[in-house]
Amino acid sequence: MTDEANKKGTGRTRRNFLAGTTALAGAALVGPAAARAEARKRNAKRGGTVRFGTRDDSVGLDTHRNFIYFVSHPLAALTGGLLDFDANMNIVPGIAASWESSKDLQTWTFKLRRGAEFHNGETVDANAVKWNLERIMDPKIGHSFTRSTLSDLAKVTVDDKYTVQCHLKNPSAAFDSNMTYYPVNLMAPGSVDTADTLPVGCGPFKFKSWKRFDTCELVRFENFWETDAEGNTLPYLDGVVGKPKKEDRVRLTALRTNEVDLIDNVAYADAPSFIKDYGKEYETFPVPQVGTAFIAFNLKNGPFSEKDNPDAQMLRTAAAHAIDHQAIHEAIFNNQGQIAKGFYSPSSPWYSKDAKSWPTYDPDKAKAMRKKAKDGDAKILIIANDSYPYMNQSGELVHAMLKDAGFNATFEIHPTPVIQDKYNKGAFDIDSSANSYRLDPDGWFSRSILSTAPETIRRHGYKNEKVDQLILAARVEANKAKRLQMYTDIETLINTDLPLIYTHFVPLLEAGTKKLHGYKPAFTGPFQYAGGGLRTAWMDR
């Protein structure tokens, strides 16, 4: 979160907030026609095109098939979710102007904004939303990540043209957070045949062209629903040109030679010196947490598993004592961001500041415990994904630390398909990994900690009945303070049982020219948040 966001504070609870927005939405519903008539008022002074240098390129154009983890792919600007979030990570109206849940938290009703359109002129109505949700749930189409956010969804019904109801299998207080942009991106049902070549969404920018590994061009969507405080339509920009430049050094050079106006992923090694040496000439935008890095143990089999080793818990504790978090903070992240003791960072309203920490760094204790534990000399395989430098560099460091504590560890780096294969076969002992940010804590705990969640089963296999009960109870708890306490208790249990050891909040530094104004990235990147990001940016001409 940026500084301004922190100042605002996170006092309001979601329930209060919901009430507020519902009232507001009521007002919006009264006057869509009027709004429409005087709409399309543009701030003529603001415009321009941003050339955006990104580390990665999208892999495809169909928003339901592809996982837009890298939300800074310019293509992410094409789509929008049912709901947006604001700078404080609160959920705010998007395509849906208001929403509410039934008392039992099993039915969620979304009232759509009138006048919202897809880029091809189709109306974003209840049928379109239903069609989108159903398409995402189709295992032949929806990406697993996206699909998993809807795993609770039993069916979608259309009440009227602008009212859509989601009926859940299990009660969930967090379902609305799953309706935000990424995971749920809406595309025009009429464009389904061209989804892979000419995507049509309802986001702030329209698709113009995409050349893989080269360029993607987007132009302003004139009929985007959002307006600024003066009633001018957003976005201001005439267009965005995406320029994927994989090599960190080249991307940074491109910014400094005025080939691009904005870049993502300034390498951690460069971040402090760039801010120091170039802070006057360039804007830097710290995005403090886009995810949380951790190392997970394989609890399904091997020396860290209770099944195969009665001393597994002691061995995991020994490993935890061997890990020097400060070293990871300094050597991998170059003092950017913060050490993680739970999944949510202090910039999130769900930060569990009272959770008990993992065992602290104590190499002697680590050695002693490892020696005492059964299988302390067993061979241990550490794996890391090759696509994210911080993951494999953390793995490298953890490997060295465990070696120092006498563990017989080896380290391997693999591309995603191989990592998947190793998860499926349980052919690893420690996984240096990370998870991208989930707006609502249920998104993390229900999907990656709950013992019945597919990801839990596949990756670490953690099972603690107490934790499961807490997760399920928190899911239906409406009081935010109580809920936070439950999650704090869960983090304490995790840091004691050690199915995984949180290591670091993953920071991201973006940098741009001084010509770029009104820009501030959200935690998921530059695009989808209400009243911010590239929606409110403009360029000097």
């Binding site: 495809g60 697993s144 590994f213 080249v250 050079t253 398909p417 990801e455």
Partner: protein, 316 residues
């Protein structure tokens, strides 16, 4: 001659068959496949879903059936759809191959511009300091890890000197002169590397030519040394240099992966490399096949050109 060409073309068929079988086999043996990726870590590993997906992507059939089916379609020019981008593979090839060919072609041309003068002067001043300097210079180019060299070039020419853009690509068909600006750095990186080989070749074929009788005859007729070298020897010595450059060109089509990645050049090498990592079988297979065809056809053309330019070489 015609019979020779026909026989050579007939020989290409088994070569390409071997190529495709090897690729198919390799890709099959790679652990982890697209189905696992589609199911992902968060999806429920439901056997039903897996079956649906396997059927959707054709993995329910044994490998030889898939191979024959693929081959049957490939022969007709149908390469299917990329499993990752879901666009036609032919589209990916049509964007990637021209970019790489453009880079390789200009790179080779640059390498000739460096190598021919260097090789000639090395031959003419054989075993002198000039010769050694020329040889070491050309060898230096091939001794530097290319990604390091490329990044150093970017830092020097873009960042510090500000002469050239750091990276990017403009298609020469869209804007020829505009595209050159982006081409210079990567092409120079290609050229500098290839120059080592070409210099050596030029030097030795110059030495070859210079030892021939006609050179002595020309000299005895009172022609100036300069004229002898430029008018006769160099011209003949260029024959192997030019033809070998054809082979280098073909080989470069899959050899610029690293440079494409650094210079954000949307070439076919990088596309195939990413496809290998993502297990995007149709793109890997089609890409290697098409590049393989280009390589073998280039080889054939080189042989024919060589025999045309140098009639003493008999084609059998």
């Amino acid at each position: 001659m015609l019979a020779y060409i026909i026989r050579r073309i007939a020989q290409l068929v088994p070569v390409l068959l071997v190529l495709t079988i090897v690729v198919f086999g390799f890709v099959e043996l790679l652990p982890g496949n697209i189905i696992d990726t589609l199911i992902g870590t968060e999806g429920i590993d439901d056997p039903e879903v897996r079956k649906i997906l396997e059927k959707e992507y054709g993995f329910d059939q044994p490998i030889y059936v898939r191979y024959v089916k693929w081959l049957y379609r490939a022969v007709q020019g149908e390469f299917g759809i990329s499993l990752v981008t879901r666009r036609p593979v032919s589209l990916e090839l049509l964007t990637g191959i021209p970019a790489t060919v453009y880079l390789a072609l200009v790179g080779i041309t640059l390498s000739m511009l460096i190598a021919v003068p260097l090789g000639t002067i090395a031959a003419v001043r054989r075993n002198t300091a000039v010769d050694y300097t020329a040889q070491v210079t050309s060898l230096a180019g091939i001794s530097i890890p290319e990604f390091w060299f490329a990044i150093l070039c970017v830092l020097l020419f873009s960042l510090y000197l500000g002469w050239l853009p750091s990276s990017g690509y403009i298609s020469p068909f869209d804007d020829f002169w505009g595209s050159l600006k982006f081409l210079i750095l990567p092409a120079a990186a290609v050229g500098f590397r290839q120059a080592a080989f070409t210099t050596r070749l030029t030097r030795s074929s110059m030495l070859d030519e210079m030892s021939k009788e006609y050179v002595d005859t020309a000299r005895s007729l009172g022609l100036s040394e300069r004229k002898v070298i430029f008018k006769y020897t160099l011209r003949n010595a260029m024959i192997p240099t030019i033809t070998i450059s054809g082979l280098q060109l073909a080989n470069l089509l899959g050899g610029t992966v690293v440079l494409e990645s650094i210079f954000a050049w949307p070439g076919i090498g990088r596309a195939i490399f990413e496809a290998i990592l993502q297990r995007d079988y149709p793109l890997v297979q089609a890409g290697v096949l098409v590049l393989g065809v280009i390589v073998v056809v280039m080889n054939l053309l080189v042989d024919l050109t060589y025999s045309y330019l140098n009639p003493r070489v008999k084609l059998r």
